[in-house]
């Protein structure tokens, strides 16, 4: 089993839009990563200078980001 994140490079248009928003969310430089669990399934990470947050679905991601 890999001990690192399995980052998915292919993003949907919606995810690309969210990645663009995340890049300056709240005035901070952040990065959105779409990742795959080893057992299957997708999750999202938004990472900034001091940590980040992890969302289990795109809906949860939007909630954390404060976008519709």
């Amino acid at each position: 089993m890999k001990d690192e994140l399995d980052v998915v490079k292919e993003l949907t248009i919606e995810e690309m839009g969210l990645a663009a928003i995340a890049s300056n969310l709240g005035g901070r430089q952040r990065e959105l990563l779409k990742c795959r669990y080893p057992e299957g399934g997708i999750f999202y990470l938004v990472i900034d200078d001091d940590g980040g947050f992890q969302a289990e679905s795109i809906e949860e991601l939007k909630e954390y980001m404060g976008v519709e």
Binding site: L5, G27, R28, C35, D50, G51, F53
Partner: protein, 296 residues
């Protein structure tokens, strides 16, 4: 609580220098008591799993911190790369958000993590974790307000004032941020309780009528949004025809209010005004306002 004791007791996981988790499951691989001596960075899961919420303040948020220092409880603080982490006891249900409290002030709760900067030698103020103060809890958890803050730099009170405040120009003012205003109004309609749903649906329809009158929103879009809000609050099930009638009546009232306001302004300011009066039933496509402004 000493630094080592604190970190040893917390659910931690390795992070890279770029702060991304060095684990396959993100913070789900966090465990207490792990040997972190060789990790590039130490991540600490926040929220219910650690019992810690973190107010993450970056340089943009430092003025807020200074302005509110006296109101904030004495609690543990970590200096970070660019700002400060205030650590508080986890409040049930506290989740992540950005800018709910103020610009440059994030919350890390359930679903979040922070880099543990003390491990990198950054200074701390070692105090017992405090509870969230009530005033801050309100700011951090009120959905409608926080969503508005997250969407825009527009001051919430100014937005509320626009809708509820003292009437000016006949009680109707131009919409600033269309999405912001519409979302706020629709939230109110969606959350209406039995006994107030019709009144708030009519109120919301009036407000959208004003936006239509301004030329900022198409009528069919407003109708769809309002019908959806009525489905959410349950009013639709009680009678779709009545809902449509209320929406139609409210929208027409709102358009008339906007036209009356424009008429008043025109008579006060002469022919070169903000926008000429609109005719009822016209096609109010988005952009009308801007074309009208270009003429002045």
């Amino acid at each position: 609580m000493s630094l080592n004791t604190a970190l040893d007791a917390l659910p931690i996981f390795p992070c890279k220098i770029d702060k991304s988790p060095l684990t396959p499951n993100g913070f789900y691989n966090a465990i207490a008591g792990a040997d972190y001596s060789h990790w590039p960075r130490v991540g600490v899961a926040t929220g219910v799993v650690s019992g810690i919420d973190v107010i993450d303040i970056d340089p943009d948020g430092l003025p807020w911190l200074e302005a509110n220092r006296a109101r904030l409880p004495l609690t543990r603080e970590h200096k970070t790369l660019r700002g400060v982490h205030l650590l508080l006891k986890h409040h049930p249900g506290m989740r992540n958000s950005n800018r709910r409290i103020a610009k440059g002030v994030d919350i890390r709760g359930d679903g979040g993590y922070v880099i543990w900067w003390p491990r990198e030698g950054y200074p701390i103020i070692d105090r017992t974790l405090a509870e969230w103060p009530e005033w801050l809890l309100d700011l951090a958890t009120i959905d409608a307000h926080s969503d508005l803050r997250a969407h825009s730099d527009v001051d919430l009170h100014a937005v509320k004032g626009r809708m509820y405040g003292p009437p000016s120009h006949g009680g109707v003012e131009p919409t600033g941020n269309l999405k912001l205003r519409s979302t706020y109004v629709l939230n109110k309609v969606e959350r209406a309780q039995v006994g107030e749903r019709n009144r708030l649906l009519f109120w919301g329809s009036c407000r959208h009528g004003e936006m239509i009158g301004e030329g900022r929103m198409k009528r069919e879009v407003a109708e769809r949004l309002l019908e959806s809000a009525a489905k959410t609050n349950g009013l639709w099930r009680d009678g779709a025809a009545d809902v449509r009638a209320t929406i139609r009546s409210g929208i027409e009232t709102g358009i008339k209010q906007w036209q009356a306001m424009i008429g008043d302004k025109a008579s006060m300011q002469g022919p070169h005004t903000y926008m000429r009066p609109l005719k009822a039933g016209a096609d109010f496509s988005v952009g009308t306002r801007f074309r009208a402004k270009a003429k002045t």
